[in-house]
Structure formats: C-alpha cells, structure tokens
C-alpha cells in the first residue's frame, strides 16, 4: 500500500490539572489515505476534536502532546518549531470549525479574510488572490460571488457562512481538511448541502477529509472509513460499510442501535446504559467494560489494544483475541 497522507501513531494528549494529569487522548493510531474521507465518531468528550487540534498543532495550553507521533507524508509534524507548523496549517492541512457564526472575524470582509489567507501561503498578487477567492466562493455555492465577496460575515446566513468557512479552509489548496462538526450548528435543512459541498470540492481537488461528528448518519453517507472513539481511546476502525452493517465492538453496536432507521420497525431505540466515564475516572482494563453487555473478567483488568481483523478493520476488544485469555479461560 502507498504511504498514507497522514499517519497518527500512539498519540497521547494530556491536560495537567490541579488534581492530576488527565489523558484526553490515550494511544490512538490511525491513517488517512490520500483523497479519502475518514469519519471520526464518538460522544462529546471522547477526544474527537482534540485529535483534530493535535494534528494541526493547536492544542490549547496547558494541554500537550505527551507521546506518539504524527506524520504527514512520512514527515513528523508534531515536533516542528511553531513557524514551520504555521506554514503547514492552512497550506497543507485546512480546518473547518463547528460554528460558522463565530468562525469568521466580524470586522473584515469575506474578501479580506480569504485574500489574506491565500497570500499568506501562496505567492500570488492581490488581484490573482481575489480572482481565486471569487472562483472558490462560486464553487462552494455562494450566489453572485463576485458581488457578495466584499460583504461582511454578518451579511450572510449561517449556511452561507459555513460555505465561506469551507472556502477559507480550502483556499490555499491543502491536501487534508479536518472538518470538526461542520454541520452541528446549522439547520437540519442545510446540513446535507454543506456536507455535499465539502465532499465534492475535496474530491475535485484530491484533498482528504477527516470528518469529525457525532452523527453516525452523516458518516454512513459520506465517509470511506470510520474511526470510533471512546473515552480518548480507539474502539474500532474500518471501512464504513462494514462498521455500520456489522459492527464488532460492543460500543459501536450500541451506537448503531441508537440510530433511528426507516427500514426497520423499532418499538424503542436501544440505548447504551450508563454514561462515558470522566477522564479522571477511567476504569481499569477496557474503558467501556462497566457499560458493556459482553464484558468478562479480562476486560476489567487488561486494556485491549486494537486487533487487526482483516479487510482493514481493527477492533479494541478482547472478544476478538483468538489466542487470548477467553479461550484459555474456557479451555
């Protein structure tokens, strides 16, 4: 297989607090291949956004990357000096944030913000940057882009602003776009449009997407592969079709069971009992074991690492450890 675009290896992110150090991300590993869409799901606090921020080197102090490495096309980027990392942000890795209403600086026109970004990274003239900005706004679906480009952010609606944000994330032609809950703050009616625009425009430019969301439906329709995070750890990762239709980790199965569908009649949506543990109170062994319907002794003692299951799937669950204690214990 070709070298992945982005490779995250055993990433650990810690936040020192007065009551000890919290591990927000605990040894997460995954790859993003060129041009693919990787979905990242999990509950609030599972570490999705922090993973995204870690990749672009913008973890809020005092939080820090305490272990592991992040490689962009084989080159480590997690230990770069700030100035070199800055040149990667926007230029090679673009970012789309959750709330388009607050992502744009209210005191600058859309044109000023896009042109500034283009000219920071690409050595083009003001006029050339402006032409590119107009073309890009047109492409993300801003009607009458040439006329609207000199408007201020408050002249645009939420959906339109998120299109502007997408244009901003893509204007320096990055190879990877990290979209952190890009539709959460929007009306349901425009969510699908925004996802479509993001997916199409990235496909055109060959940019890979890391799509962070808690909406399994969006992932199922958009992503090529999906990674499921739980309490700062990777529960399961694999091709989206396999994971959605045949989830292997009990947590993923619980997640899938909680999605309403039109094709099956449900009396009630299933729900996972309990709540995700707080970061200062993660249980020994598998983080999911207190809520897991299939937990057994080993789960309460020993932490499972992701186990390769073939077809590009990996699951962090002792149920699938053939050579493990389960058989030994039973046998």
């Amino acid at each position: 297989m070709a070298e992945p675009l982005l490779s995250v290896r055993d990433l650990v992110v810690e936040f020192p607090t007065r009551r000890g150090t919290l591990r927000a991300i605990d040894r997460i590993s995954f790859d993003i291949r060129e041009g693919e869409v990787l979905g990242m799901v999990g509950e609030s606090g599972a570490g999705k956004s922090i993973t995204g921020n870690a990749i672009i080197g913008l973890i809020e102090p005092p939080g820090r990357i305490a272990g592991g490495e992040i490689l962009l096309k084989g080159t480590r980027i997690d230990d770069l000096p700030p100035e070199k990392m800055r040149r990667i942000r926007g230029r090679r890795i673009g970012m789309v944030f959750q709330d388009p209403l607050t992502s744009l600086n209210p005191l600058y026109t859309v044109a000023e913000q896009i042109i500034e970004t283009i000219r920071t990274h690409l050595g083009v003239s003001e006029r050339e940057a402006r032409e590119r900005a107009v073309a890009l706004l047109d492409r993300v679906g801003i009607p009458a882009a040439r006329r609207r480009i000199d408007d201020y952010p408050h002249h645009f609606s939420g959906g339109m602003r998120q299109r502007v944000v997408i244009a901003l994330a893509l204007c320096a032609e990055p190879e990877l776009v990290i979209a952190d809950e890009p539709t959460t703050a929007l009306d349901v009616s425009v969510q699908a449009q925004i996802i479509d625009v993001l997916k199409e425009i990235c496909a055109e430019r060959g940019a890979a997407v890391m799509l962070i969301t808690h909406d399994m439906g969006v992932i199922a329709e958009t992503a090529d592969r999906v990674a499921v995070l739980y309490a700062g750890r990777m529960a399961e990762i694999g091709p989206v079709r396999d994971v959605v239709q045949d989830a292997e980790h009990p947590y993923t199965r619980g997640l899938m069971g909680s999605i309403p569908t039109l094709t099956h009649a449900h009396d009630r949506l299933t729900q996972i009992p309990g709540a995700m543990p707080r970061l200062d109170n993660i249980p020994q062994g598998c983080a999911f074991n207190p809520r897991c319907p299939e937990a057994f002794d080993r789960c309460r003692v020993e932490r499972p690492d992701p186990i390769g299951r073939g077809g590009g799937r990996r699951v962090a669950c002792w149920l699938y450890d053939r050579a493990g204690v389960k058989e030994a214990g039973n046998g």
Binding site: L58, R86, F97, T117, P143, H154, F156, M160, V165
Partner: protein, 327 residues
C-alpha cells in the same frame, strides 16, 4: 446614518439643557455671592443695589431663561470676582487645560494600549506580572498623592523637571501654547503623567481583559488554523476586535481627564480652567462655576458623539448600509 446623527444631536441638546438647569440651580445654594463681593462692612442698601444689578431678585425661571439665552450666544456673564467676561476668562485658560489633557490622553492611550497588549500576549511572563502589580498602584493611589510624589522625586530630589507652572509660553494670537519652548514641554511632563496615570492603568487593564477575551474567540482560533502569522493574528485580527469596546471607554476617559484636571492643576499650579474653577468656588463666583460645568458637560457630550461615530467606522455590523443577516 444622517437620521442617526440628527437624533444624537437632539439628545445632546436635551442633555445640555438638563446640565444647564442643574448647574444653574445648584449654585443658587452654594452661598451668597453678594456678601463675598462686598465684604462685611457693606450696608443693606448696597447689597440690595448689587442684587438688583446682578439680576438676583428676578424669579428663578426668568433668571434661568436669561442664562440659557445668553449662554447659547457664548455669553456667561461677568465674573463676580475678576470683573471680566467669563467667556474670555475661560478661553484664555482653556489652551493650558486642553494641552495638558491632550498630552496626558495620548500618554494614557499609547502606553495603556501597548502595555495592555503586551500583558495579554505574554500572560505568564514575569514582566507582565510586574506590570500588572504596578498598575494596581496607579489605580488605587489618589491623583494628588501621585502628583506630590512625582514632584518630590523628579523636582525636589532629582531636580530634573519643574514642579509648578507652565514654563515659557508662546502666544499664537488665539492660543497660548507651552509646546514650543523647552521649559514649556518640561513643565508638561509631571502634570501630564499625574493626570494620565490613572487613565493609563485603566486602559491597560481594559485592553488586557478585552484582548484575552478576543484571543479565546473562535475566529482567532480559525485564523491560527489557517496558518496566518502570529503578527497578523494578534495585531490584525485580535487587536482590531479589542479596540471596539476600548474606544468607548477611552473616549469617556478623555472627558474625565479634562474634568479631573482640577486636581492636577491645583497640585501643579497649572493655569488652566480647573484652577480657575477651584478659585471661583472659594469666592462663590457663580457665573464662572456654571460656565465651567456647562463646558465640561459639552466636552462629554461631544466626545460621546464622536465615539458613537467612531463605532461606525470600526464595526461594520453597525453600518446599516445593507440588510442585516439573511439571504
């Protein structure tokens, strides 16, 4: 926009009328100017004659109407004490006060902004902590004490700067300035620092607080995520947003600088309107006191108006040039 300005102007007129009424009626109770002017030996007839001449026997409403009508024409009557037209008195003293206020305003704004930005960006640095601690002194020490301390250190002990007066002034016909002579400029330093120190620390703390707030904003994070340089993020994006609330406070502070100049002018014997006012209080010189209050009110009203218009320049969201959010 024009309607907005007209509306604001109308409001300003109302405010000025209220201030005129308050200052006019207030000074009817501060003491009897007649006895101060004529002294103990004057006869009752003399007093009555003077009362009549000053119009003090007319009904209150008539006196007030008279006061406003003449004030609008720039006539605040004759000073009881100095027997000169009040307007001339104030105009001759105004340059001194305005120069002092302008210099200390610039000192307060430039230094306050610079230190505020610095302490916000280097939040954990030892120098920031030192500046923040020192700023507590500026906030909590009363102006006259600061003035006296500065005089003691720089005028008495070190003998670097003069301790009182305006130094040599140059008469430009309608404006007597101290800015053109070395002694005039040297004389300005201590009063300007004294007057501006409180405002400076206030602006600095405000800028710091606002800047820290703005630096946490999503659009700053997004600006960083787009790889903009620290300089562009901090000064292009964060500082401009910080300035919106800072402008209001700074503008109002400029008014306070002129008003608070009373104390500084007294400490440094600065020949400005503040000193004129203090002297007038001692002699119950009602026309001067009333004119001074009206003048200060006018300064505040005008500054407020300018600040509101500046908002329009800085913050595009207030410009109603196109429909608000929508499309």
């Amino acid at each position: 926009m024009l309607a907005y300005i007209l509306r604001r102007l109308l409001q300003s007129v109302v405010v000025m009328m209220v201030v005129a009424l308050v200052s006019f009626s207030l000074f009817r109770f501060v003491g009897d100017p007649v006895s101060t002017m004529l002294g103990q030996e004057a006869t009752v007839a003399d007093r009555e004659a003077l009362r009549e001449r000053l119009g003090l026997n007319d009904p209150f409403v008539v006196q007030f109407a008279d006061f406003v009508t003449r004030a609008v024409q720039g006539d605040f009557g004759i000073s009881y004490r100095l027997q000169q037209p009040v307007t001339d008195l104030i105009l001759s003293r105004l340059p001194a006060t305005l120069e002092l206020a302008a210099i200390s305003g610039i000192f307060a704004f430039v230094l306050g902004l610079g230190l505020g930005v610095y302490t916000a960006l280097k939040r954990r640095g030892w120098l920031s902590n030192a500046i923040m601690t020192a700023s507590l002194i500026g906030v909590s020490l009363p102006t006259f004490l600061i003035g006296v301390l500065l005089i003691w250190i720089f005028a008495v002990e070190l003998q670097w700067l003069p301790s009182f007066g305006r130094g040599e002034v140059v008469d430009l016909g309608w404006w007597r300035t101290g800015l053109l002579t070395p002694s005039g400029r040297a004389s300005l330093v201590l009063p300007a620092v004294t007057l501006g120190l409180y405002q400076m620390t206030l602006i600095m703390r405000l800028v710091r607080a606002e800047m820290l707030e703005v630096l946490r904003a999503d659009y700053i994070k997004f600006a960083r995520a787009r790889g903009l340089s620290d300089r562009a993020v901090n000064f292009g994006h964060a500082l401009k947003n910080t300035l919106v609330p800072v402008i209001t406070i700074t503008g109002l502070q400029l008014g306070s600088i002129i008003a608070f100049a009373i104390i500084t002018e007294t400490v440094f014997q600065w020949p400005g309107v503040g000193a004129l006012f203090i002297n007038s209080v001692q002699f119950v010189d009602v026309p001067v006191m009333a004119a001074y209050l009206v003048l200060i009110a006018l300064v505040f009203v005008v500054i407020n108006l300018i600040v509101d218009l500046l908002y329009y320049v800085v913050d595009p969201r207030l410009r109603a040039d196109r429909g608000a959010a929508g499309h």
